[in-house]
Amino acid sequence: MSEIDDLVAKIVQQIGDNGGTSTGTTPTSTTNEKDLTRNDYPLYSKHPELVQSPSGKHLDQITLDNVMSNKIKSNDLRITPNTLRLQGEVANDAGRDAIQRNFKRAAELTSIPDERLLEMYNALRPYRSSKAELLAISDELKTKYNAPVNAGWFAEAADYYESRKKLKGDN
C-alpha cells in the first residue's frame, strides 16, 4: 500500500463516520501501462474491464436486482480517479489536452464530500474569501485530500484575487 492509498482509505473512513457521501477507495493504476487512445473509446463497450465503481464494482454488477437488494447504493454510482485518468488519455489522444487537464483536477476532487466541495466552490467566488482563507483551502486540498493541482489552483487564485481586487472587502 502506498501512502496515497492509506490517505484515501483514511479520508473515506472519516467521511463514512460523518455520514457524508464519497467515492470511497479506488483501484490504483499501474503507471507504466500504455496510454489509451481514441480507438479504445467508448470504454463502456471496448474496455468495461477497466471501469470500476468507487467500491470496486464492475459495470455488469450495476443491475436493477443489485439496486433493489441494496448491494448497489448511491455512493457506488460515481466515477473514480482512475476512470477520469483513462478518459483524460482518450481526450488527449483525440487532440484535447485541455480536457485532460480538467479531468486531472477532477480526479483529485472525487474524494471530497459533496458539501465540502460546494463550500470550496463558493469560497472561490468573488469577494467571498480573504487571501488567508483561500490559502487555508489550498493547504487543506494538499494535505487532507492529496489534491496538489487544485491546491495550486487556489493558491494561484489567492495571488491574483489580491492583485486584481477580488478578495473579501475589495468590493
Binding site: 466515477i79 473514480t80 480536457i99 477532477a106 480526479a107 467566488r125
Partner: protein, 527 residues
C-alpha cells in the same frame, strides 16, 4: 465584430510565458487575460499563427479541402482578437460552409426546453416523453419558482427516460444548486455555467475564471457532462462592454471555456439575442460566434433558444444558418411546449412549429435533429410518463398525483389544461426531499416498485454512464441503447461533397423525416 475599439491582435512570449496579448501588456491583464494567457493558448506555434494572414485562415476555414484538424492546430494557437479577426472575414454563406466542417460531432442534433409556467410536474413528465419520442437527445428544464427545482429535475428525468432511454436531462438553476441536483443523479448534465467577456460583468455574474474552472472540474469529478454558456449581448445588457464589440467579447468567453478544459459551450446570443438581433449584421455575427466556438474544437449548442422577433420570417432567418450547416445542437433549446409555457421567456421555435420544422427538414433533406411521430405513439408515451411519475411521487412520499392529473397531462397542450396543484405543498415536499437525502437510486426503486421496470432500468443506465464517463468527451449524446455518439467516435469528417454526414445515408432517420404524418397521397385523395 470589427469594433473600432477592439484591440489589434498581438502576442509576445518570453521564457515560455505570454507577456503581451492583443495589444495589452501583462501588467495590465485583468483576470480574464491572465487566465487565457496561462491556460487558453498553445504557445508552440502561436507566434507563427499570429503572423499569418487572417483572410488566408478564413479561406482555409470554408475550403472543404482543408481538413478540420489542420484548422484546429491554428485556432488553438491564436489570441481572442485574432480569432475574431478571422471570423470577421467571412460572409454568412461562408460561415455556413465552415460550420458544416468545423462542427465537432459528425451527426447533427438539437436540444429542447421542457417547462411550464406552473411547474406542474406531471405535465413536465408527459412533455419530456413527448420530446424524447421526437428525437431530442438532450432536454433542459428550469423553474418558474426556484424551490421547485428538485421536482422539475425528477419529473424531466422520469419523463425523458420513459419516452426514449438515452436522453440526458438538465435543470437550469443557480450554479451551486444545479451541481447539487447533479450530484444526486437527478440530472445528467449541466449547461448554464455562464462566463462573460469583461471582468466587471464576470464579477457581477458572481464568479471569476478560477471559480468557473473549478466548478467545471467539480462536475467532471461527479461524472457529469457539462458545458459553459456565453453569448453576444450579455455584456451590453449588464452594462460593461469596455467599448468592445460583441464578437470580441464573445471570443474571450470561448477562450475561457477552452482554457478551463470544458468540452463545450452554449453560445450564439442565447438569452441576450435581442441585442445582436437589433444591430446591422448582428445575426451574421451570432453565427460567427458559433463557428468560433467550433473552430476551437468545442461542442457548440448554438442557441436559437429565445424569441427575439414575432416575425415568422425573422424567426426562420435566425435559425437558418445553424439549421443548414448543422451543429451539435442546432437549438439549445427548441421549446417543446407552446411558448405560453416556456419559462425561459419563450424560444425562437416552439411546439406549435413542429410541423413546419419537419417540412423544412424534408424539403431540404436536412437532419434538423427531430422527426415526426404519430399521434398514437405520443399519447401512449405521455400517458406512461405521467403514470410513472405518479408512482415515483407515491413512493417518495411526495404530494399525490391524481388519476385526473395523469389523464389531463396525457392530452394537455399547455398548463391551462392541467388541474390545479397545491403549490405550497409541492414546494415544501421539494425541500423535504432534499433534506431527506433522496437520490436517483430512490427514483429507480420507486419506478421498479410500481412496475415500470424498463424506466427504472433507463434511469439506472444513466447513472451507470456516470461511472463510465464516456459522455464527458466532446459533443456526447446517446442513442436509445446507450451507445455514446461523440466527437471521439463520431468525429466530423466533412471534406466536401460525398463526405461527412449525409441524411440520405442515415436511412432510418431519413425514412422518419420523409414520412410526415399529414402528407396526403394524391392517389387516395377523396373529393
Amino acid at each position: 465584430m470589427e469594433g473600432p475599439n477592439d484591440p489589434k491582435p498581438s502576442i509576445k512570449i518570453e521564457n515560455g510565458k505570454i507577456t503581451e496579448m492583443d495589444s495589452k501588456s501583462v501588467k495590465d491583464f485583468d483576470l480574464i487575460d491572465l487566465y487565457i494567457a496561462k491556460y487558453g493558448i498553445k504557445l508552440e506555434n502561436a507566434e507563427k499563427v499570429m503572423a499569418m494572414d487572417s483572410t488566408k485562415i478564413a479561406n482555409m476555414l470554408c475550403d472543404p479541402n482543408v481538413p478540420r484538424e489542420d484548422i484546429i492546430a491554428l485556432t488553438t494557437a491564436m489570441t481572442p482578437a485574432k480569432a475574431e479577426e478571422v471570423i470577421s472575414k467571412l460572409n454568412f454563406a461562408e460561415m455556413i460552409m465552415a460550420t458544416q466542417k468545423m462542427r465537432p460531432r459528425r451527426t447533427p442534433a438539437t436540444q429542447c426546453h421542457v417547462t411550464n409556467i406552473r411547474d406542474n410536474p406531471v405535465q413536465i413528465a408527459a412533455d419530456a416523453a413527448d420530446a424524447a419520442l421526437r428525437g431530442f437527445p438532450e432536454q433542459e428544464t428550469t423553474t418558474a419558482v426556484a424551490r421547485y427545482a428538485p421536482l422539475n429535475a425528477i419529473s424531466l428525468l422520469v419523463g425523458a427516460q420513459t419516452g426514449r432511454p438515452g436522453v440526458i436531462s438538465q435543470c437550469s438553476v443557480e450554479e451551486a444548486a444545479e451541481l447539487n441536483l447533479g450530484m444526486r443523479g437527478f440530472t445528467g448534465y449541466a449547461e448554464t455555467i455562464s462566463v462573460y467577456g469583461t471582468d466587471k460583468v464576470f464579477t457581477d455574474g458572481d464568479d471569476t475564471p478560477w471559480s468557473k474552472g473549478f466548478l467545471a472540474s467539480c462536475y467532471a469529478s461527479r461524472g457529469l457532462k457539462m458545458r459553459f454558456t456565453s453569448g453576444s449581448g450579455s455584456e451590453v445588457m449588464m452594462g460593461y462592454t469596455e467599448g468592445k464589440s460583441m464578437l470580441y467579447l464573445e471570443s474571450r468567453c470561448i477562450f475561457i471555456t477552452k482554457a478551463s478544459g470544458v468540452q463545450g459551450l452554449q453560445n450564439g446570443g442565447v438569452s441576450c439575442i435581442g441585442i445582436p438581433g437589433s444591430v446591422p449584421g448582428g445575426i451574421r455575427s451570432v453565427l460567427g460566434e458559433n463557428l468560433l466556438c467550433m473552430m476551437m474544437d468545442l461542442e457548440c449548442a448554438s442557441a436559437n433558444d429565445q424569441a427575439f422577433s414575432h416575425s415568422d420570417m425573422r424567426r426562420t432567418e435566425r435559425l437558418l444558418g445553424q439549421f443548414i450547416a448543422g451543429t451539435d445542437y442546432i437549438s439549445s433549446g427548441y421549446s417543446s411546449t407552446p411558448n405560453y409555457d416556456n419559462t425561459f421567456a419563450g424560444s425562437n421555435t416552439d411546439g406549435l412549429d413542429y410541423d413546419d420544422y419537419y417540412v423544412m427538414e424534408r424539403d431540404l433533406a436536412i437532419n434538423g435533429g427531430i422527426h415526426p411521430v404519430t399521434e398514437e405513439e405520443i399519447i401512449k408515451g405521455r400517458n406512461k410518463a405521467a403514470k410513472a411519475l405518479q408512482g415515483v411521487f407515491e413512493d417518495l412520499g411526495l404530494p399525490k398525483i391524481t388519476d385526473e392529473e395523469v389523464e389531463a397531462a396525457t392530452y394537455a397542450n399547455t398548463s391551462k389544461d392541467m388541474p390545479e396543484r397545491n403549490m405550497v405543498e409541492d414546494m415544501k415536499a421539494a425541500q423535504d426531499l432534499m433534506d431527506r437525502g433522496i437520490t436517483a437510486v430512490d427514483v429507480v426503486k420507486a419506478l421498479y416498485n410500481h412496475g415500470f421496470k424498463d424506466v427504472a432500468q433507463a434511469v439506472l443506465d444513466l447513472q451507470k454512464q456516470k461511472v463510465c464517463g464516456d459522455f464527458l468527451q466532446t459533443s456526447a449524446i446517446f442513442d436509445e441503447n446507450w451507445n455514446v455518439i461523440s466527437a471521439v467516435n463520431d468525429a466530423n469528417d466533412y471534406r466536401g461533397p460525398g463526405t461527412g454526414y449525409r441524411l440520405q445515408e442515415d436511412k432510418d432517420e431519413w425514412e422518419r423525416i420523409k414520412n410526415i404524418p399529414f402528407a396526403i397521397d394524391p392517389q387516395h385523395m377523396e373529393l
